[in-house]
């Protein structure tokens, strides 16, 4: 760590000081202009926020832009954090919104979430069946309506509770559940289109069905977008 021989200090904190603080304390320091405290928040949450962004956008390049934009936005808006939600909830909300805003802006661009299968598809000869399954599922996920996809990312992929996801998304808990149920059904429908049988028919995960017969890793052409009757929020 810094050994300040002389001159202005590199940092205001001794090593480990910030790591010992909880998120809310770090936010309080950030609000007082302590950049190092926000840096610690970035360090703690960056991997999770990256994962959320990748899964929400379906595109690592786009996710990189979104998560960068989100952290800058969070820094600028640190003063508005009131402590009513957990810091991680607050960050998730900013990241998800950044992703959704970007996806909406780029909707007419050829590089959007729905193009995941085409963009990231490796040589089929190199693909293992588990990789195929993952590609199928990710491609199908990318073709879900955004609100269903985000709900599934938060609840099913990141293990968030319905209440937490509702706080992140700013909707009612019932809306989150509705989006999850409908998203899963749509996803299963898409995968049935790939494998030719009910996605959940071979086991609790449905993975084996996708494993058994998927060949292209793409559900392009089978992915009928489902429309969700918007639940009240």
């Amino acid at each position: 760590m810094a050994d300040a021989v002389d001159g202005p200090p590199v940092g205001q904190h001794r090593p480990g000081d910030l790591a010992a603080l909880d998120d809310r304390s770090l936010m309080a320091l950030s609000q007082d202009g302590d950049g190092e405290a926000f840096g610690e928040i970035f360090r703690r949450h960056r991997d999770r926020m990256w994962a959320v962004a990748v899964r929400t956008t379906g595109d690592r390049e786009l996710a990189a832009d979104c998560v960068q934009e989100a952290f800058i936005s969070a820094l600028r808006r640190a003063g508005s954090y009131r402590g009513e939600a957990a810091v991680t909830t607050w960050l998730h909300r900013i990241v998800v919104n950044a992703c959704l805003d970007r996806l909406r802006r780029d909707r007419t661009s050829p590089r959007r979430a729905g193009d995941l299968a085409e963009l990231d598809l490796p040589d089929t000869h190199d693909r293992t069946s588990s990789a195929e399954t993952g590609l199928d599922v990710r491609a199908a996920l990318a073709r879900l309506p955004e609100n269903q996809r985000v709900a599934l990312v938060l609840v099913d992929m990141h293990g968030m509770s319905v209440a937490e996801a509702a706080a992140v998304l700013g909707v009612a808990e019932g809306t989150v559940k509705s989006r999850c149920f409908r998203g899963r059904e749509a996803l299963a429908g898409m995968l049935r289109g790939v494998v030719g049988e009910p996605a959940g028919a071979t086991g609790p995960s449905g993975a084996r069905a996708a494993d058994a017969t998927s060949t292209s890793g793409s559900v392009v052409g089978t992915a009928a977008r489902t429309r969700e009757p918007e639940a009240g929020s």
């Binding site: 993952g134 009757p229 639940a231």
Partner: protein
């Protein structure tokens, strides 16, 4: 507005489709890539910096004989385009995540000397990226690079960004990009480097000075594509006095 979905009594865990388990079993995207960490780190540092630029300049003028703050870890100072914050307000926690540490210059000896000290310690060399606005010429590389090497980049760096560099490589403007360029030039990781993103013979490019453990410098002029794809060497290497 409420709909029947709001009152769905089923727990969210209930999933006859099997999709929940399938989704949860997908592999994680992994940690945030290092280059993105560096990129965001630099952006955050720039955000933090703007209000303290004048204060930093004042401090530097006020304390001309001070020695440097020496960070134990490898150093990164990104200057230009708002990165001057890194010489003052860069959070250590951010710097550390970028795989580097801050080198806060407080006047006195040029940061170069500090770099050579750290190179001698065997740790990864530090990276300084500046944008001085210098218009380099391949034919004058030895003299111009020597001037860069002898100057204090913190003082000389333009804080309003590399206006004269046109569309000079953004990759070279990042610490990881600068280090990748150095590697392509055969500069060992332990060497500290200073990269001035500028123009070379009127075109976007950069001058990279590598400092060995003894503080001896070697200069290269490179094109904006210098990086993992190749060195894009325009002139050099030139040993600096």
């Amino acid at each position: 507005m409420s709909t029947p979905q709001d009152f769905d009594p089923r727990p969210v865990e209930e999933d006859p489709t099997g999709m929940r388990a399938l989704l949860s079993a997908l592999p994680d995207p992994g940690p945030m890539p290092e280059d993105l960490v560096s990129r965001i780190t630099a952006s955050l540092a720039a955000e933090l910096d703007w209000p303290v630029l004048d204060e930093l300049a004042t401090r530097r003028r006020r304390r001309p004989g001070r020695s440097l703050v020496v960070a134990a870890a490898a150093a990164v100072v990104v200057l230009g385009g708002g990165g001057l914050a890194l010489s003052h307000g860069l959070p250590q926690s951010l710097v550390a995540q970028a795989g580097s540490a801050d080198s806060a210059a407080a006047g006195g000896p040029a940061p170069m000397r500090e770099f050579s000290d750290k190179s001698a310690s065997g740790s990864a060399g530090s990276v300084v990226v500046v944008s001085t606005g210098t218009r380099y010429a391949a034919s004058r590389l030895p003299a111009q690079a020597a001037q860069l090497s002898a100057s204090d980049p913190v003082v000389s760096a333009r804080v309003d960004g590399p206006a004269d560099s046109g569309n000079a490589s953004s990759a070279l403007s990042s610490p990881s990009g600068a280090r990748a360029c150095a590697s392509a030039l055969g500069v060992p990781p332990a060497a500290s480097i200073v990269v001035d993103v500028a123009t070379v013979d009127g075109a976007p490019g950069a001058v990279l000075v590598a400092l060995d453990a003894q503080g001896a410098g070697t200069a290269y002029a490179v094109g904006p594509t210098c990086g993992t794809g190749g060195p894009a060497l325009l002139a050099g290497p030139v040993l600096l006095p």
